[in-house]
């Protein structure tokens, strides 16, 4: 993690200078005093400068940001200590208003996560994976999705047909893929586009469903786009950009 060292006349001044340079507050960093200020060992003129090392702590920044947000939402909650697991920081919010923070289908929680991740990334100057949870909603949901995946696998094998799981978010589809990836009896993949992307669990010998021929409508749209392109007209630019964008949007479509 990002760390800087500072020298100054006193320890306090050195810390202050470091905090200023990192643009953080004291509760977002770890401070080590490397050298105390004071007179040199031989009492020579020009006494020894203080030296400190200040290290940026993403988990502390994360907690601060979450606290600041829930406080301004007027929510009565307790922000727990962040824990690091599997390369990500997980932070849980408990308390009376945890339900408010979760929202319908975890929508508010997801929004909180988008914003908190963005802020922490900006403050730390590096990308950190963050999971914001309330009342351990995500943990419980993930466990549920894992169970669902195993059950669907059993059914796919027993009934020898493809089982579809609807209404999963990208992160949840990822969990299904990971849960079943080492199972040679089934394969998993997703089809369709957000927000109607569907996860499919297929018996390995059955394989994925052959891709359908593009519908007439999508063929027509493609022709139109090509024509526009030739004429240099960009009437439908936003639509095309969106299409390009989807391909790159790993969060939604990679799983």
């Amino acid at each position: 993690m990002k760390a800087i060292e500072k020298r100054a006349r006193t320890v306090e001044e050195a810390i202050e200078a470091a905090l200023c340079e990192l643009n953080v507050t004291r509760d977002e960093v770890e401070i080590e005093v490397l050298e105390e200020s004071g007179r040199g060992r031989f009492n020579i003129l020009g006494s020894q400068q203080a030296r400190v090392r200040v290290t940026l702590k993403p988990e502390l920044i994360l907690k601060g940001v979450v606290k600041n947000i829930v406080e301004r939402m007027g929510a009565t909650v307790i922000v727990e200590e962040p824990v690091e697991k599997e390369g990500a920081f997980y932070i849980n919010i408990g308390g009376a208003d945890a339900g408010l923070i979760i929202g319908r289908n975890g929508a508010t929680l997801d929004a909180m996560q988008v914003i908190v991740s963005e802020i922490v990334r900006k403050r730390c100057n590096s990308s950190v994976l963050i999971w914001v949870d309330a009342d351990r909603y995500r943990e419980r949901r993930w466990e549920q999705v894992r169970k669902m995946a195993l059950e669907a696998m059993q059914r796919a094998k027993a009934e020898r047909r493809r089982i579809r799981l609807y209404n999963l978010k990208a992160a949840e589809r990822r969990i299904v893929h990971l849960t079943l990836q080492n199972n040679p009896d089934v394969i998993t993949y997703s089809e369709g586009e957000e927000p109607n992307r569907v996860l499919v669990i297929a018996p390995a010998d059955l394989g994925p469903r052959p891709t359908r021929k593009p519908s007439e409508r999508s063929q027509r749209m493609q022709r139109n786009q090509q024509r526009e392109h030739r004429h240099g007209v960009s009437r439908n630019r936003s639509a095309r950009r969106e299409q390009r964008g989807t391909g790159m949007n790993l969060q939604d479509d990679a799983y």
């Binding site: 947000i69 007027g74 408010l100 508010t108 997801d110 929004a111 909180m112 988008v114 914003i115 403050r123």
Partner: protein
């Protein structure tokens, strides 16, 4: 609610001192207007409006505690070149 929006937006942008947040209060509705430096507009909106949408969702959740309907608007860049009212 304005404080929530102001905090989030100031944290997201490069020029926090250029952030202006206004709250227009009606009887049952509240409109929160966000004005940022032109260069920061993308940071507040995000790819495919992801950030803007997330801000709205959070504000809506906060608003349920107060029983009011809130809309959040991000003002487009001013045409006169950064001069704000």
């Amino acid at each position: 609610m304005m404080e929530l929006v102001e905090y989030i937006v100031r944290q997201l942008v490069d020029q926090p001192d250029k952030v202006q947040v206004r709250q227009l209060e009606g009887e049952r509705t509240v409109v929160i207007e966000i004005k940022v430096a032109d260069e920061d507009l993308g940071k507040v909106i995000g790819r495919k409006g992801r950030i803007a949408q997330a801000i709205r969702t959070l504000v809506r959740a906060a608003a349920t505690k107060r029983g009011k309907k809130v809309t959040v608007e991000i003002l487009p860049p001013s045409r006169s070149g950064g001069h704000t009212s």
